[in-house]
Symmetry: C2
């Protein structure tokens, strides 16, 4: 049984808006002609990294039925990502409890892109569609973002980025984040230039801000002085049986064994809804894997590069939980 779902054929959709949040009613006609249904297509509200749709710019789109349309990138990256999704969907050796970490895949579709012209898209699950004000973090995993068989020019380009970012020292780097504050202030969303320059201490701070009700609050790193982010949501988001840490450990166990795929330049997407977290509900945090343009065949070898980065990130998060427990003297459990 394949939880990815049977690919559906969506054959056509009309003009697409390019202004974030604006919408337009379009018709999408299924290929088998048995039904006709309308969807509202728009630019995603909660994208924190990657190419963004804009005037004349190719970027992802979403509809109001929970689908994410990712335009196929040129230079083989798009077709490589499709090949991964097709392989993963049909791979009967992927355990069901692992499939849930991957977006659902519904096939490909040529449709009018954000640029206004027809372009092939992957039709995927929109990972934030069920959220009202999602806090989102995108973390690129692995100290090496290039596959061994990549071109010399591509390796040189990636190696430079890996060395300039925290990929080499930490085994992962932040690609973007937004943290919901309240209906008035909306989101804390540091700009990409800042994210690009983050060092290890910034990463530690941003992982704390991601689970704080005051994410804009800075603290002096090293001394720990200043009020700093309060980490008030750390227990409900990171900790507990359904928290992000538990999900990462579930993936870790799989990565210690799986030799099907090597995931280069692939990201974790962390998503949660603050409203639910503050109510002390069981964690609504989700971990998903995204961006598979550089997945290669594992050839019977585990993905030691991804696994190393995953373990490093896991340690950063468990260190935050340990520090909070040490400070508060509690066991960090969510009080229901």
């Amino acid at each position: 049984m394949n939880s990815i779902g049977t690919p559906i054929n969506i054959s056509w959709c009309a003009y697409l808006p390019v202004t974030t949040g604006s919408t337009i009613q379009v018709d999408i006609l299924s290929l088998n002609q048995t039904r006709k249904k309308s969807y509202i297509i728009q630019v995603p509200d909660h994208q924190v990294a990657g190419h963004e749709a804009g005037l004349g710019k190719l970027g992802p789109l979403i509809d109001d039925s929970g689908r994410f349309y990712k335009p196929l990138q040129g230079d083989n990256r798009g077709s490589e990502e499709v090949a991964f999704y097709e392989s993963f969907s049909s791979n009967s050796h992927i355990p069901e409890h692992i499939r849930k970490f991957f977006p659902m895949y519904y096939g490909t579709k040529i449709m009018k892109a954000s640029t206004g012209v027809d372009h092939p898209h992957m039709v995927l699950q929109d990972l934030t569609s069920a959220r009202v004000n999602p806090s989102v973090m995108d973390i690129k995993i692995g100290s090496r973002t290039w596959a061994p068989d990549a071109s010399e020019a591509y390796i040189a380009k990636c190696l430079k980025k890996d060395r300039e970012s925290t990929s080499i020292p930490l085994g992962f780097r932040l690609s973007g984040l937004q943290v919901y504050i309240d209906d008035e202030s909306r989101f804390y969303k540091p700009d990409r230039n800042y994210i690009r320059k983050t060092g290890p201490d910034d990463v530690r701070l941003l992982l704390r801000k991601f689970v704080s009700s005051n994410p804009s609050a800075d603290m002096e790193m090293g001394t720990g002085s200043g009020p700093g982010p309060d980490c008030s949501l750390a227990s409900s988001v990171y900790d507990g049986p359904n928290g992000i840490l538990a999900q990462l450990l579930e993936l870790k166990a799989w990565f210690e064994d799986q030799t099907f795929y090597h995931f280069y330049a692939c990201s974790f997407l962390f998503v949660y809804e603050k409203r639910l977290g503050l109510k002390g509900a069981l964690s609504n945090a989700e971990v998903k894997l995204i961006d598979f343009a550089h997945v290669t065949d594992g050839n019977g070898v585990i993905d030691h590069n991804f696994l190393g980065g995953l373990c490093s990130l896991t340690k950063f998060i468990s260190d935050i939980l340990t520090e909070i427990k040490d400070c508060t003297g509690t066991n960090g459990q969510v009080e229901l």
Copy 2:
């Protein structure tokens, strides 16, 4: 209590032989002048990788009391390795069950080197001194053998080697091995040119040969045809509560947590005695970590590069055990 032992001061020793296996009686006088003891100094018999002592060539020496004298390498590598041993020896956070994986360190000593001239040496535990006919394997761990703060020239040199070897695809590479056959044939010891060119399939084969009574037997990889290495010692060497796999898993748990050191270009040394293994005794296999010329401060981050390689190697070994159990239908336990 520090199991590394208190450094002893050995002040002087005389002329040293440079022919493998030849010996000479020399005097070593302790600095505190309280005792005078004679040791036989010689070139190691069971070295499988690294610089070798020879006529005019600087290399390690051993004595008959179980000490290994490693000449300090130039260009800071020697002093960096001493700095690591000094730090590790005095680091009270290293658990006792982890210290056993490191050679004992007895300090440094200026003594007549294999070249015949005085040179500073590290005085370490000779890891094969208690063995008669040890089978030995040296495996360099990590897909990256360079530290982030290394020079551009050094990084380029290492990266080239990492890409040409199995370091990048597997997360580790073989540096050398010898497998004891019998008193007549002595050792199977492939030459370094072969080792340097090993690909993933060769590595799989050599890990099987390492625990075989017929290590010279080749098999056609891919088809699995031909008699091939018999893996008759796999259960006693790799498996069981004291086997190499169990020791690697013990180290893995530590590497998932320790943030003191990052071990670049460091090796595992696997050592066992066939005579004991064949008798069905409990495994006498030992895992040791060696070569610390490129250890850097962990700065609160786990060594994801080493951990990834360690997990990959662990998977290779557990795959061999699984295949054997699948073939024989046994649970692979040693019959006592």
